[in-house]
Each structure stands twice: as structure tokens, then as C-alpha cells.
């Protein structure tokens, strides 16, 4: 594995594979995100024949991306990879279900095991100008998180979510997201009030959060989480209402949800999301 030093180097390495024809891949590069991972020394590459692997370190394991010219070449290269990388590796195989099954089988042959499947859900809305509903009155308890909330929010997410499947942000990413007003929160008590966990005058702990990203007319709901101790306050619904109210210009809302989380799926359907046919099968290989 070689540590990557530039985004250009990744694109150059992709070239050789792509010249051989339409690729088999799960690598959908976003230059800004790649650059951040490179700056943090988290990104590595490995070439095996015509196949390019890009590995991103996340805590104590590696996320694997691949670009291969053919399925047969991918399988041969995977066997080489697993023989040389003595760490836990996860891979997200993304696409329509039938295509995903075909690629996932290659990973199974190379020693990976199925971990879980995520469904993408989409909610499309008409342009804001066509909406006739009057805006809801603002909810004063739903506020943007502050940069100082980064560690606490990352801790909440790390405790509640599946780190291999749900791309859990670390404290730095949550602090950055908070400073960019991408995280809505409801606190466990009003600001300034004394609670068991926070002395008088301190900001009270977070009872629920909703982390989202907006790009033009699209928005990705990254995480939506309520502390179980506060699940009787309709915090989740209030966060979601504020999210939609703040995203009046968004036409396409997206999220990923683990397929056996039926409770969450039902709630997302309630808000107008539906499964759009794209799935993400997460596979994992632990060192023997």
C-alpha cells in the first residue's frame, strides 16, 4: 500500500484501468473530500495488475474502493489484496440490486463476508414556488449546533451507529459541520438551565441531532438521532420539520438506511421518502 499525496495521482492511476473499457467500480471520487483525506494522511493506493484499489483509513479499519476493467481481474486482484493487507477492510458495493449481487459474490470468493445492506431513499418535492402550505411557526428549541458540540455529537453517533456501515464522522468533522450550520440539535434542557449533566450556565447536553448536507437543489440527510432517554419529546419530528423548512429550495432529498431498520424506514416513508432502487451492500474482511 502506498500513501497517496495528491488527487491528481489518483486520477492518473484510474486512467490505465479505464482505457481497457467501462470499469467495474465503487469509486465515485469527490475531489474536495479526497483532498481532505490526503491532508490527514488517511488515503492509500495499491495496484494489482490492471486493478486500482484506494483505501481510506477510518479509526481501526480501512474502507476499500476499487476500479477494475473486468470482474475476473477484480477477483484476482482481491486475492492479492487480502494476502497483503493484515487489517480489517470494509467495502461498499453500490448500484442496482442485481449488479451489486454479482460484484458482492466476487468479494465473498476473496474472503469477505456480508455485513449489512443499506437502501437509498429519496424524497422529491415540487419547486418552492408551487407549495401552498403556509410555513410552520419556528420551534425555538431546534437550533444549530455549535463548534464545541463536535466531540459530544461524534460520541453520540459513535455509540449508536454501526461504524462499518454508516460512515460515522469524527469530532473534527462534526465540529466543522456545526460551524457550517449543517447540524440541527435539540438540547436536553433550555440553555442556561441546570441539568444533571450540565451545571447552571453551561449549554445543556444534546438530546437529538440531525446532520445534513445541501448542494444546490439536493440534500443528503447524513444522520438523524435522538437520545433514547428523550424519545418521548417528539424531538425527531421537530428536527425533521425544521430540516424541511430550512431546505425550501431543495428538490431532491436523499438518505441511506440499513435495510433491517424497519422502524426508521417506516418513519422516512411517513416523511415522503421512498426506496429508489439503489442499494449499498457492505462487506467486511477481518484478518485471520
Amino acid at each position: 500500500m502506498n500513501q497517496l499525496s495528491s488527487v491528481a495521482a489518483i486520477y492518473e492511476q484510474m486512467d490505465q484501468t479505464r482505457r481497457a473499457g467501462p470499469p467495474v467500480t465503487n469509486f465515485y471520487p469527490v475531489p474536495d473530500k479526497l483532498q481532505r483525506s490526503i491532508a490527514r494522511g488517511e488515503l492509500f493506493s495499491m495496484k494489482a495488475g490492471n486493478v486500482l484499489f484506494v483505501l481510506r483509513r477510518d479509526r481501526d479499519f480501512l474502507h476499500l474502493s476499487f476500479v477494475a476493467a473486468t470482474a475476473a481481474e477484480l477477483l484476482a486482484a482481491l486475492r492479492e489484496l487480502v494476502a497483503s493487507v493484515a487489517e480489517t477492510v470494509t467495502v461498499d458495493v453500490l448500484g442496482p440490486r442485481e449488479r451489486v449481487a454479482e460484484i458482492a459474490e466476487l468479494f465473498a470468493q476473496a474472503g469477505f463476508r456480508g455485513h449489512c445492506t443499506l437502501h437509498r431513499m429519496t424524497r422529491t418535492t415540487p419547486p418552492a414556488a408551487n407549495l401552498v402550505e403556509p410555513p410552520a411557526p419556528p420551534d425555538p428549541e431546534v437550533v444549530f449546533a455549535g463548534r464545541d458540540d463536535g466531540a459530544a455529537m461524534a460520541g453520540m453517533l459513535g455509540t449508536a451507529l454501526d461504524r462499518y456501515a454508516e460512515q460515522i464522522p469524527d469530532a473534527d468533522e462534526m465540529a466543522r459541520a456545526a460551524s457550517e450550520r449543517k447540524v440541527l440539535v435539540v438540547r436536553s434542557g433550555p440553555a442556561g438551565a441546570a441539568t444533571e449533566a450540565a451545571p447552571r450556565g453551561a449549554v445543556s447536553p444534546i438530546a437529538g441531532l440531525l446532520f445534513f448536507e445541501v448542494t444546490g437543489q439536493s440534500s443528503l440527510l447524513r444522520h438523524w438521532l435522538v437520545d433514547p432517554a428523550h424519545r418521548d419529546r417528539r424531538i425527531g419530528a421537530r428536527l425533521m420539520r425544521r430540516y424541511f423548512a430550512d431546505c425550501k429550495d431543495v428538490r431532491r432529498f436523499l438518505l441511506w438506511v440499513i435495510s433491517d431498520n424497519h422502524n426508521a424506514i417506516d418513519r422516512y416513508r411517513h416523511y415522503g421518502y421512498h426506496e429508489d432502487g439503489l442499494i449499498d451492500q457492505v462487506l467486511i474482511r477481518r484478518p485471520s
Partner: protein, 76 residues
């Protein structure tokens, strides 16, 4: 042969691509869509777009996509 606009419409039917000068910044194409679009252009026009050309700026708008296809000898 379908036009670039028709290919885009198949990938993301909910958007009107004639109204945008920047499909990426306007949230009409994400990174997955970009790779899907490139693969679809490869398939429809019988070309192999190089990895170094799979850049947001090359699919930013209709003119950029047409310019990209011209580079591979396709006049859409």
C-alpha cells in the same frame, strides 16, 4: 442516437437540465451520477473517457459535456 440532454434526463428525471449552468453546484448531479453519466456516455457513443477526464468541470453543464465528447471525436 439520444442527445446528451436525454441521457441526463434518464439519470435524474426530476431536474430540468436546461435551466442550469452548473449541474454540480446546483445539486443536480452527485459523484455517483457523474460516474454513471460517464459510463453511459462511454456506452452510447462507443468511447472510453479517460480517468483524468472524470472531473466535475467536464460535466458541469451541457456545453462542457459536449466539449468533452468532441475531445473523443463525437459531435453530439
Amino acid at each position: 442516437m439520444k442527445t446528451v440532454l436525454e441521457v441526463l434526463k434518464e439519470i435524474r428525471p426530476e431536474f430540468d437540465f436546461t435551466t442550469s449552468e452548473d449541474f454540480i453546484a446546483d445539486g443536480m448531479l452527485d459523484s455517483f451520477d457523474v460516474v454513471t453519466l460517464i459510463s453511459e456516455l462511454d456506452r452510447r457513443y462507443g468511447i472510453s473517457i479517460a480517468g483524468t477526464d472524470i472531473l466535475p468541470e467536464n460535466v458541469r453543464n451541457l456545453a462542457a459535456i459536449q466539449q468533452l465528447l468532441l475531445k473523443y471525436g463525437i459531435a453530439p
